[in-house]
Symmetry: C2
């Protein structure tokens, strides 16, 4: 089945592939159906349909020079390239491009860790480096820095950061794009550019001061298509002396409001890592009566929920807190958390978790010991990559919608109700009900999660998923909540919700895109930004 | 003396001014020499010469709609606008434009504080709001947040952030651009655009999640000329419970190396605010023998400096540390600092400073009590704007060069020597000698300071300053150190040092600028970025 780049005939495409082989070697260009299997999105909800976005070929350069060569060949023939780094990108389109027929530019061979400094606390890496690679490098050298990794840890710090991925440690570091510090990119014309201090030849502070001088275009390369990032710097957290956890529960539904305010205080004061919210009442969802209550149209009343919690002898909410510092610092911060919350919320209870010096032992990395189900990803919280989350995959994968909502209890209640009602027509077990807790991944905001599974051989199911995804994106937007990341097949839908002043942002970005890459050599459509050639 | 916009005759300019008056009212358009006095750079080293950059007029719109009207009129007549916010911008060109004849777009009347939230910890302001305004607003309402302000505090949070200004509290917050969260801009065609979540109509998290969806162009508006920023969000630190200071001294010159490493650890662990470095040996510079030693060509030896320190009974270096948190947290972090440093550096000494609950009393805001001269700006360190720094102005003002150098003791020694040698030919008292301490304003890097005074009526002196500025920019760049901010008359010199791959960054930015603003309506030349019309 021949997938060709847009506007290209078979013979010309064959010539392009020959030129690619000339640039990187015949072993590193793939175009057979079989070889391209790994470049399909194995979580695709449109698997094997016309809507599936498929690559025409994949090419894996070995270094920056070869990336430049590939981009220049692609530019000559107007072949769209779709750069990927390493890892899986499951739930967000995998390695599949926005435009069928694009050539995947697989950067896995650019896998050099160029520098890790544990005095000035940074790393400089290439896109093919994984979190596992970076972790191992640091361990082997006994460097006193900790990475902040997502879970699973097979991803690329560069790819994850560019997709605005998040981790699990202290606020500044778990915003992976926020903790980046300067990029090197190959532009659509094949030229090499560095941002921040990297633009100064022989710069000594490329990974220490991100802005350089003058306007900083680095943000255009995140979720974008203005160039191929080939190096990126990251700020690293020094390895803390000590780690500590504690759990706080509050009895009533509305107690979430004050609980969140206190945790916001701790978090924004740099006194704790990722707060992990949960509701012990989730344990009751197996009970049909409780399920009916928690998913009641328009939402249950506070009194109804409090009565159910009371009857079950369960608190309404919990938050797990994590502290990094010296033993005494972590103790002081946890004591403050208890003092603030227990003195303010009647019936709140605090449970000391574990605490131990770092680095942790293997045993300590196994997360146990909280009175209620713990959701802390202990390895990730300690900067140790793992494959833990991988176990949550159901059916043949999933797609994801993670709307950003305000960091308040009230916003959680509203999102539970609005998003729950929006999905009522669909045959999913409830994602949004009166026990749904927010995520506090991004440091200053909450998110909710809709991640329905897909089934490769059940197009009707997948079509339902698709309809639900499109509906929930739209309903969330009506309430001022937007998605932060999406698979290519949903990127236009999500981008369409960022429509202030007749899509002024998208029009501005497309004007820039046209100036830099009118033919769409780099990832046309990524992030909802289409160059002139492909714009409808 | 008629200053006209580029390529415009007197009659057409009069029509432009009439149209401006129609848009904002006659009281808010100024074009007489007298009225334009305040729009000249009173610190200019080229005062009253042909090189001075002077405005042809100034216009002060009252709201966003009027900003759009002014931009549209300017676009029609191709009149460059130079947007300023409020405050003085002393040492960086004041309100004076890059291009003589530009019309200053004075945003001082856009002075609304639109929102301050002390549960989710953010502010949304307009450009004419000053740090004083924001502080007062918070105090009057008893809100539990602390601002991070520069010193003096008359500046604008938006203007300061866009110039990549810094403050004095915790690392995340004192990078003012880094702590911003979403902007609203009027584009060169007069259209209104919002970035981040603000692009979603009715967004609920504009000040909580800065990236939104897709590529983020916000960085183009800092030190740039892609639009006029009319609103900006900022993350705010919750008002801490307690504040504490401590001072550590180390005896020998090379002890700075390990001292910096320990302080980097504390700072990057979010355990302290701005570290304030100094050398007690500065007190000896009045002694001609010591001055000769400290400024010795090629730098003195460690042994020579240690002997001088020892003879004077003074430590070679000191660092003042500041802690925010609960009383116990600040104590634990200070104890850790002492433990790490005193156990590692022989002869290091620690001195407890003050500590007190916040908000501070007026008496506590007066900074005293350290055994050596303290450099902590206590009010600024506690988010209280003041005019403290204003007192440092000498002669008729100064210009500034603040090269970014690595955050290490070795880099400090090298910069002392290289920059000291570079300035040897000039008749200034030494800025760079063996006692020069680094600034740690930007959270992850050091800076050095060259800020020679200017004298309005002494062109020969100013010409010397000019030559010294241009030489030191070039010498620093040869060593991989770049400036982070400059006055218009030096911006092209500084931008020229960011020349990686034949000025790839500048060429990329100018390609974008041409796409958005080819006629240079918004601040042509700012940040070294020139649109086609003005490019040489």
């Amino acid at each position: 089945m021949a997938v060709l780049p847009p506007d290209l005939d078979q013979a010309t495409f064959a010539r392009v592939l020959d030129e690619f082989r000339g640039a990187v070697g015949a072993d590193w260009v793939w175009s057979s159906d079989e070889d391209l299997g790994p470049y399909r999105d194995s979580f695709s909800p449109v698997w094997n349909t016309d809507e599936e976005r498929r690559a025409s070929a994949a090419v894996a350069p070995a270094d920056v020079g070869q990336v430049q060569a590939i981009v220049r060949i692609a530019a000559r023939y107007k072949v769209p390239l779709y750069p990927i780094s390493t890892g899986k990108n499951f739930g967000y389109g995998g390695p599949s491009p926005n435009v069928t027929g694009s050539v995947v530019l697989d950067l896995k061979r650019l896998n050099r860790i160029l520098e890790v400094d544990d005095k000035r606390n940074f790393a400089l890496v290439e896109p093919g480096v994984s979190y596992f690679d970076l972790y191992r490098y640091i361990q082997e050298r006994g460097l006193k820095v900790m990475i902040d990794c997502p879970d699973p840890g097979w991803g690329s710090p560069i790819g994850n950061s560019l997709e605005r991925g998040v981790g699990y440690t202290m606020p500044f570091f778990r915003d992976h794009y926020g903790a980046s510090c300067g990029v090197e990119v190959v532009l659509p014309n094949g030229e090499l550019m560095r941002t921040g201090m990297g633009a100064l030849p022989g710069a000594k502070t490329w990974q220490e001061y991100r802005y350089g001088f003058g306007p900083d275009p680095a943000g255009l390369f995140a979720q974008g298509n203005f160039g191929v990032v080939t190096k990126m710097g990251f700020r690293l957290m020094p390895l803390p002396k000590h780690y500590r956890t504690g759990l706080i529960t509050v009895p009533k539904r509305r107690d979430l409001v004050r609980l969140v305010e206190h945790v916001n205080f701790l978090s924004d004061s740099s006194m704790c890592g990722e707060p992990v919210y949960g509701s012990p009442l989730q344990a009751l969802l197996g009970n049909p009566d409780f399920y009916a209550l928690a998913t009641k149209p328009g939402g249950p009343s506070d009194a109804e929920m409090d009565a159910a919690a009371s009857a079950a002898g369960l608190p309404s909410w919990q938050v797990e807190l994590q502290f990094y510092g010296s033993e005494e610092t972590t103790k002081a911060n946890w004591e403050l958390a208890k003092e603030l919350i227990l003195s303010d919320i009647p019936g709140a209870q605090a449970f000391d978790g574990e605490h131990f010096p770092l680095p942790a032992t293997e045993e300590q990395l196994d997360n146990t010991g909280q009175p209620y189900r713990t959701a802390i990803k202990r390895r990730a919280a300690l900067g140790v990559p793992s494959l833990g989350m991988w176990r949550i995959v159901r059916d043949d994968g999933h797609v994801g919608f993670f709307p950003v909502i305000p960091r308040s209890g009230e916003a959680v209640f509203e999102a539970q109700r609005v998003l729950g009602d929006a999905l009522r027509e669909f045959p999913f077990r409830s994602y949004f009900n009166a026990t749904t807790a927010p995520l506090n991944w991004h440091p200053f905001t909450f998110q909710m999660v809709f991640a329905p599974s897909v089934k490769k051989n059940d197009p009707a199911h997948n079509e339902t998923v698709n309809r639900a995804m499109r509906k929930i994106v739209a309903v969330a937007a009506e309430h001022g909540w937007g998605d932060y990341r999406a698979a290519p097949i949903y990127q236009d839908d999500v981008a369409a919700t960022y429509s202030f002043n007749n899509h002024a942002l998208r029009r501005f970005l497309e004007q820039l895109k046209d100036a830099i890459d009118p033919d769409g050599i780099i990832a046309p459509g990524r992030g909802g930004i289409w160059p002139k050639r492909f714009r409808k």
